[in-house]
């Protein structure tokens, strides 16, 4: 036994090179060979889209909570409103040639006391990457994609979000050309808060619509596991 043995089994990997993987590499390398783009441009852009996060969208919502005119702009023209949070869907860094058209059209869905929005992509995993970063794994699962449109309240309850019966749930289905974020209602207990404070509580999950902002909750993805208050004996 070596010193590097672990108690756990290694995660499974696909130990096989498919024709599709080979085709992707070959197309990319030939394009580089022909000077259609450079290897460095390709790597830089891939890194860029992989390292985007949800903070710009959170700030957009926080600004809208503080400024009714800006909120109106968000609802009417999400692409223009995004510029206020340094996201230019037209000339994004680092290449300055813009994001692809298939996610240029951003729509901001504003919740109201009687309406709750939630976003899905039933076809695949379309997601507003420039302003929200990479989608979480669960967003891409057939479980979420298929069931949310049929049983939205049940799926939301599985995220711990109980939507009252008198609140309508509206599911927005993303597609190749239109992407959505949710602007949740500003929670109670945040009077007098600054834009920075408000930004912290608008988590990624709130922007997808499977959670709502709460004072004190600044992340829905890294919560520690809590012991059950009433554990089932076994």
């Amino acid at each position: 036994m070596s010193d590097h043995d672990h108690d756990h089994k290694p995660a499974p990997v696909v130990d096989e090179v498919s024709d599709f993987e080979i085709l992707e590499v070959a197309v990319r390398e030939l394009a580089i060979e022909k000077g259609l783009f450079t290897m460095d441009d390709h790597r830089t852009w891939t890194e860029y889209i992989h390292t985007l996060g949800p903070t710009p969208a959170a700030r957009l919502v926080a600004k809208a909570w503080l400024d009714p005119e800006y909120k109106k702009l968000c609802i009417e023209d999400g692409v223009t409103a995004s510029r206020e949070v340094d996201i230019d869907w037209v000339t994004s860094p680092p290449t300055q040639f813009g994001t692809p058209s298939d996610y240029c059209n951003l729509r901001v869905l504003a919740d109201t006391p009687t309406l709750k929005h939630v976003v899905v992509c039933t076809l695949c995993s379309c997601y507003p990457r420039p302003i929200l970063g990479q989608s979480p794994e669960w967003y891409r699962t057939p479980n979420y994609r298929r069931r949310l449109v049929r049983w939205p309240r049940q799926v939301l309850s599985e995220f711990g979000l109980q939507v009252p019966e008198d609140v309508e749930v509206r599911v927005a289905d993303s597609n190749q050309k239109t992407r959505y974020i949710v602007m949740p209602n500003r929670p109670e207990g945040t009077d007098g808060w600054t834009e920075d404070q408000l930004t912290e509580i608008v988590t990624r999950d709130c922007l997808i619509g499977v959670a709502v902002p709460k004072p004190g909750v600044t992340s829905n993805v890294k919560l520690p596991v809590m012991k059950a208050a009433n554990p089932v004996p076994h």
Partner: protein
């Protein structure tokens, strides 16, 4: 939705899409193993193949500034494969020639199809390079 009128032409709306068969891509369609099958076999849970992100980047880089201008204003000399053209062609091919191929494999086949039709790639050259890539990736 596209309407196939013969084996080589489809219409997407009023746009004519050249969908004539490309033997190399048809062979990959027939014998290539798609990610959902590989993931099932190997017990992998990530829903997308690792190459999806680089495929998207390739599409992004070929699109140039075609998304920032109205379609009629796109400078064809500087935009190698306009986004809307690629998406229309992908939609038509996904609904026709590559209908039975799942996403994102069909996006990849459609991209290669569009590039070959435009002369950005040559089929024989692509086949030759694929053989070299296969040898390299399987050499470890």
């Amino acid at each position: 939705m596209s309407d196939a009128v013969d084996d080589e032409t489809e219409f997407y709306g009023d746009r004519k899409i050249d969908s004539k068969p490309i033997p190399l891509l048809d062979a990959i369609k027939e014998k290539g193993r798609v990610w959902e099958d590989l993931a099932d076999e190997y017990g992998v849970t990530n829903p997308d193949p690792p190459w999806k992100i680089t495929l998207e980047t390739t599409c992004d880089l070929l699109a140039g500034d075609s998304c920032v201008k109205d379609y009629d204003e796109v400078d064809q000399d500087t935009t190698l494969l306009p986004s809307l053209d690629r998406r229309w062609e992908e939609d038509a091919l996904s609904d026709g020639r590559y209908k039975d191929v799942p996403f994102p494999e069909r996006q990849l086949l459609s991209l290669a199809h569009s590039m070959i039709n435009r002369g950005l790639l040559d089929e024989a050259e692509l086949e030759k390079h694929m053989a070299a890539v296969e040898k390299r990736l399987n050499s470890g």
